[in-house]
Symmetry: C2
Subunit: 322 residues, 2 copies
Amino acid sequence: MSRVLNEGSGPVAPETRLRVLASIKSLHYRPHAAARELKTQSTSTIGLVVADVANEFFGQLADRVVRAARAHDLGVLLLTTQEDAVLESDSVKMLMDKRVGGIIAAPTGRNSGVWRQVTDMGVHLVFVDRTVTRVPAADIVGVDNQAAGYAATDHLIEHGHRRIAIISGPLAISTGSERVAGYRRAIQDQGLDDDDRLIFEADFRDPRGSAAVDRMLALEDPPTALVVSNTARAAAVAARLGERDVSIPEDLSLVVFHDATWAALAKPGITVIRHPMGEIADRAVDQLAKRMTEDWPERGEVIRLTSELVSRGSVATPKRGR
Amino acid sequence: MSRVLNEGSGPVAPETRLRVLASIKSLHYRPHAAARELKTQSTSTIGLVVADVANEFFGQLADRVVRAARAHDLGVLLLTTQEDAVLESDSVKMLMDKRVGGIIAAPTGRNSGVWRQVTDMGVHLVFVDRTVTRVPAADIVGVDNQAAGYAATDHLIEHGHRRIAIISGPLAISTGSERVAGYRRAIQDQGLDDDDRLIFEADFRDPRGSAAVDRMLALEDPPTALVVSNTARAAAVAARLGERDVSIPEDLSLVVFHDATWAALAKPGITVIRHPMGEIADRAVDQLAKRMTEDWPERGEVIRLTSELVSRGSVATPKRGR
DNA sequence: TTGTAAGCGTTATCAA
DNA sequence: TTGATAACGCTTACAA
């Protein structure tokens, strides 16, 4: 009987409750989630849309999202975009058909319209890590990327570097442009040369991802330090640097976004910008869970967490001369 | 109208089909998945149960499973066990309530009964990477772990090592015991000393994961080579080895299971056993999709794929003397 | 306190 | 070829 499962939904005699409970046990009865959803017009599943869980960054994020969701009794439907706009909108379509209660997404950036539709149709949306414009109802949970870009660059400047390059993700993506903005601001604040040729935009899916390294090394006046703010390509960049026999930090100081396993294990250890992955995921899920119970919000909320620069051995004073 | 969506389900005039299609467009109609499921008693979602997608191994697996599932128009509900038996059975419970069409799982090994119930209730089950006993109806997709353990050990023997240690995952898990069995067989085939003190069983969740390293190093007659068949702890082991100033391969030759990013990037590169992650995922999903359309099988099928030893710089001839 | 019936959005059956 | 109707398994409102 329904009243014993959803306690509080009506009166039920203690004795009959036990009788019902007994039958449930003996018959191995389990409520049919789809039927319940159909009747109550509510779901206990949310969607998670990220680029690629093979990438440790999103893997960690997804792991924590799943864990946090469980605490709210929410299932997580995982969809990946592989940074492809078509896969992204297909993913959204599937989630809408399944009538998820909300979506946590790291958008590719090329689908504002699709995301806008999501909120227009009354499905709650929380962007994590990245954002897109023109989706006012979406909540945003992420770090202050501009500050992080600034911190990474400033850290290198403090060590005496004057020519600092950055390998960014696509500037069309919020994290890309924000981090580069922070980088630029740091360069300008210190009165350094703001040289556009030191800014490399590497596509997330660039098979070699390292073309940028070659172009950088080919510069007539190559940099003495590098910020890799493109998390997805960072390992490829490091690999290419190794192939090209660039030694770190002697030839090049290095700061990388995201504290991946390889960064801590490399010799020397790589100085990184560390994101509070657990907190990002927890806040995103909490926010979504809150939205799913409360009434529809006026505008989305922006939750900015702080990243941290973890200093290891990949940054040193630049060699003199050259 | 239903007949135009599910084409072939009934006759429909070409003209009315167009009219219906037009309304669908204009009203932004999307079929309600839950209602359809309720009626047809079928689902378009499968469950994926792995330990932990923050781990690159399962991250890669999950990524490919999601991609392959999409090709079959299947959604993936992701649940993680964190290697915890309780979380595992909770996960299964949720998946059963949601009436998924099937489950792909890397079981913790401590829940045979739960998995048995899954198949008993008519839900298709494909084990990936690992297995548990007593679930005859489950399909299994994985590599030949015993052969892999043998190959890793034999590779070290061929390089002249006589004392070879192994840090395994829990022996209660199929991969753990199989890999150790392969290791043992290689040791015995070559007439080497089969010393139990060289076999270390490190729990997947061991916070330091490196206690085994310390114990190994404390041996009066320490090994000259090490196989780390515990993928989840391999990075921690490498980190501890570094802290203890063990240089590779001079002091210790190393072979690790799973070709993680850090293994390729380390200097020297780490020799690894590489699993065909993509193929494992693809076969698992294909198998599940096949089961979901066909009739219930007699017994599960076992699909054994082959792993590959990728030689890099972490294996050398042992130093003389000692 | 308990039983009954309607209805959620589909698909399938049966008449028209 | 099409329209009406029952049923999937649940929740909920209302009657007993």
